[in-house]
Structure formats: structure tokens, C-alpha cells
């Protein structure tokens, strides 16, 4: 597929999701997580676009808030973890020496600790009452390490190139070299890593919610599925309750994926033109 087309489709999906989930909540007057607001298990109608669920919530509005929350969580966590991983990776790779060894020891520990068991234990300790913020914090702590290791390896190889020597010879400071000479090398990778991180965060949060370890009262893509499974939505014929969040998640992932690969190719192409 043409990379530009890919990027366009990806961005279009993301734009619809972003604008939709950020603007629509302003037109809603009812808190979507409030239970028993409507009659239970209503079919689709003009009043309830996707019907209502077994908890008496409007499925459509719950979904809108869920997408918003998941996206916000994904972007915020991914932004923090990308900044951390770029700073840690570039400085460790470029400065090297004992600094590199200490930083990489910490990074490697975070890579080798299996995240899911830790999250399950953490979740079990604070079962269900974890605040949305601390979920984000935990995800940041566990999502920066891998990227920072790959960025370090790029920086390690770039450091030995002649043009870094030239930059040093021209009197640039270490920070200047890291930001102006090494960072352009990892820039495209960072953008793709950022998008992939969003996927990872949404995915992990959903996984936690499905097994009931996230704060399931807050609407997220995972918490919808948690409640739907809990109330056996498929058996009672509430297909939209399960299908809608799954479709939304798949579409969101598709949008992020297309954007990330499309951008990667666009960046490579751009250097071919003056």
C-alpha cells in the first residue's frame, strides 16, 4: 500500500476518534458510569444508539467516555515514557563509561521483571480501588525500559561516527551533540516508538481491566469488556455491549498502526527530496 495513503487512513481514523471522543462528552449531560439511570437491556434506538446495558447505562455514551479515557491514558503515559527512554537511552549511549553501566543495570532490571505478574500482584493489593492516575504511573514505570535500551544501542553506534567527532571539533557541548546530532538519528524511531507505546498502554490497561484489576468504575475500553463479560452479555443477547468496544479497540489500533508505519516511510522518503 502506498505509504502516504496508509498515513492518510491512519490519521483519518485517529482524527475521528480523537475529535469524537474529546468533543462528544460536552453534549452529554448524564454521567455515563452512573448505574440504573435507564431501563436495562434496551435495544438500539434513536435515544440509545447502541442500546443500554445490564447496569442501566447507555452503551454508546459509556463507549465515548471509554475511548476518551483510554486515549488520554495512552498518550499521557506514552509521552512520559518516551521522554524518559530517549533521555536515558541517548545519554547512556553517548556518554558511556560507568554512567552507562549503572543506567543500563537499572534498565535491564526493568526489562527482565515480567510486567504482568507484577501488575496482578499490585492490582490484587489495591483491588479495584486503584485510582486512574496511579494506573498511569505504574504503566510509565514499566514501559520506558525497552525503548531506552534500543535507543541506547542506536546512540552507541552513532557515537563512533566521524561526524560526531567533527561536531565535537566544532566546539559543541555534550548536550548539544546529543540533541542536535544524535537525536535526529533516533527521531523517526522515537515517533514510531511513541505510537507503539500508546498501543501497549491501552492494551495493558484493557488487559488489567478485563481481569478486574484496574479501576473498573472508570469507563475505559477494558472496563466495558470487564462488565460485559461479568454480565454474560453474549448469552443475554447484548451483542453491542461486547462488539462495540472490540470494534472500537481494533479500529483504534489499526489507526495507530497505519500512522506509525506510514510515518516511518514518509520520513525515509522525505530525505530523498530536497
Amino acid at each position: 500500500m502506498n505509504s502516504n495513503l496508509r498515513l492518510k487512513i491512519g490519521l483519518a481514523i485517529l482524527t475521528v476518534f480523537t475529535i469524537g471522543s474529546l468533543l462528544l462528552p460536552f453534549f452529554n449531560t448524564v454521567d455515563p458510569s452512573q448505574q440504573g439511570k435507564y431501563l436495562k437491556n434496551l435495544p438500539m434506538s434513536s435515544a440509545h444508539l447502541l442500546g443500554t446495558n445490564s447496569l442501566g447505562q447507555d452503551t454508546f455514551w459509556f463507549l465515548v467516555f471509554a475511548i476518551r479515557n483510554s486515549l488520554l491514558l495512552g498518550v499521557a503515559v506514552s509521552l512520559c515514557s518516551t521522554i524518559i527512554s530517549v533521555l536515558v537511552g541517548l545519554s547512556a549511549g553517548y556518554i558511556g563509561g560507568w554512567y552507562d553501566r549503572v543506567v543500563m543495570l537499572i534498565t535491564d532490571s526493568f526489562i527482565t521483571i515480567p510486567i504482568l505478574p507484577i501488575l496482578i500482584v499490585l492490582g490484587a493489593l489495591v483491588r479495584g480501588s486503584t485510582s486512574f492516575f496511579s494506573i498511569g504511573l505504574i504503566l510509565v514505570v514499566f514501559s520506558w525500559a525497552w525503548n531506552s535500551r534500543t535507543i541506547r544501542s542506536i546512540a552507541l553506534s552513532v557515537r563512533e561516527r566521524e561526524f560526531i567527532n567533527m561536531a565535537r571539533f566544532s566546539g559543541m557541548s555534550t548536550l548539544g551533540i546529543i540533541l542536535k546530532e544524535v537525536f535526529p538519528y533516533v527521531y523517526a524511531y522515537t515517533v514510531v516508538g511513541f505510537i507503539n507505546s500508546i498501543l501497549f498502554v491501552i492494551n495493558t490497561e484493557a488487559a488489567l481491566a478485563v481481569i478486574g484489576l484496574s479501576n473498573v468504575r472508570v469507563p475505559t475500553l477494558g472496563s466495558i469488556i470487564f462488565w460485559a463479560l461479568n454480565y454474560n452479555a453474549l448469552f443475554i443477547g447484548q451483542f453491542t455491549w461486547v462488539v462495540a468496544p472490540v470494534v472500537a479497540t481494533v479500529l483504534l489500533f489499526l489507526g495507530l498502526f497505519l500512522t506509525s508505519t506510514g510515518y516511518n516511510e514518509l520520513f525515509a522518503l522525505r530525505r530523498g527530496r530536497v
Partner: protein, 317 residues
Amino acid sequence: MIKLNNIVATYTTVRGQVRAVDGVSLDIPNGIILGVAGESGCGKSTLLKVLYGDIGFPLTLQTGCVEYGFQGDDGLQITTSTIRQYWFRRISYIPQSSMSSLNPVVRIRKQFIDFLPPDRRKDQVLEEVRAYVKKLDLPPEALDAYPHQLSGGMRQRLMVAMATFFNPDLILADEPTTALDVVVQKGILLLLMDLQQQMKNTMIFVSHDMGVHYQITHKMFIMYAAKAVEFGDSNAIFESPLHPYTKMLIESLPTVGDDHLRQGVIGRPPSLWDNLRGCRFAARCPLATELCRSEEPNLIEYTPGHFAACHYAEKLS
């Protein structure tokens, strides 16, 4: 005048310290092109590093220092310990390979203003850069390109432009034409000579191509196994070399119309790890005697401005 006072530079290795430059003293007059010649491993690149002031692990300057003879912003004489602050403003460097010396993912113009002094405005300097680049026979559009979109000659011209833009007092060129074909090589050499004549700065030109040295240098400095063997005016050196090594280097140059086989310098330079006694060239020298093998010759001025380190220099001339 740039003064090198008894420079001893060593590299730290697992086997210990190895002396890559061993006691070189040199006075370089201002406003000339000095050629530094010698075979691989003779210490010419290390000497250049010391001159540039890029001394860091594994290179150490054991003794000696360089006095650059020009004053810094604070009015003090610049020496090895302070030269770092003036990199690319008072002293600049033209590297060997322009392909690897330019960042492939950054546009040229951005790399140009990497060298920007903090008190200058970006767009203003960029205008000057465009005008300057045009003067050097380069299309100004080349500044907007990425390095891989330019030819080797254009890249090397851009490197020359970067190194000379701030009109530094001293320019070090480390084999700036090695990777280029002869036509482009000639263009770059003419450009360098031209710029040097206009700006009247000192240029130190490292190359192992004696033909290039003959074309562009005013003075020559020849090194062998970390030591200085001969120093003097290029004309004098090419006409009547005082050291057998220099003589053999010059004789290895082909001339048009002469088709008999060239004699190379037989043998290899000594290992710097060995316990070196006497003249370091003795093992390969056709004139070597017992004296050469036991006693080290000093660098002596035989005719005004022409130095050589050989016991039999007078015999040779």
C-alpha cells in the same frame, strides 16, 4: 609563529604507553602552507591531534606544549590548554572523508550553523553562509540538501567552506583529498591554495602524496617513526633533500616520459614497541654505518631554514 616545544605524545594501551610522537620541536612561520609527510603510523595524525588540542584518552601529552602565537579573547597567548575554546573560530579542521563527517540525517545548512557563536543571529549568519558558499563555486541550494544528495567533491567543498567560514588563524587539513578522484582533487587543492592566499592564514596539510606536497606547500615537515627527520622549504627539499628517507620518498614519484621501474623504500618502519637505538631509519638506509646504529642524530640546521636529522646529511647534499 606557531611553536611546538618538544612534543611527546603517547597512547595508553594494554601493553603500556607507546610514543606516537617522540620529541618533536618545530617553528611554523605564519601565513604559509606546511606539508606534513610520512608513511602510515609515523605519527602525523597524532601530531595533528596535538596541534588541534584534542587530547583525551587514550592520547596523553607527556611533555611539551604548542604555543599558537595568536591571542585569545582575554588577550593571553593561546596554548594547548586553552585552544579548545577557540575551536572552529581560530583553529579549524578539514577531515579526511566528507561522507562520514557530515551527519546524514541533518540538512547541510543546519550543520553549518552548528558552529554558530552564541552572539550571532541565525538567519543573518545563514545569509552570509549562502553568499560565502556561492563564492566557493557551490550552488547555494546545496545547503538545503542532505549530504547523500551531493557528490563527493561538493561535500568536500562544503567541508572546506565550514572550516574557513570564520577565517581561522590556523587550518589543519588531514588528507583532505584522499578519497577523491584526481580532477576533483585538483579543484579542492586549488580552492585551498586560493583561500589561503586570500586569508593569509596558516595551513597545515597532512598527506602521504608527495606530488600534492610539491604542488601546494611552502614548507615541508617529514616524519619517520614518531621522529622528525627533515624540515625546510619545499623547493629546497625537493631539489636537494638532506635525509635519505626524504630522498627515497621523492625518488618514488613517477615523472611523465620516464618509464623505468620505481624503487620503493625496502623494508618496514620499526615497531615503536622495540627498544629503539640510534637512527630509526638505519635498518632501511643505504648509507647506514655503525655510527647510525648506535647514535641518534639530532635535527640540525644545515643550510638556513633547512633542518635534517642525519649523520651524513652533508654527504647527501
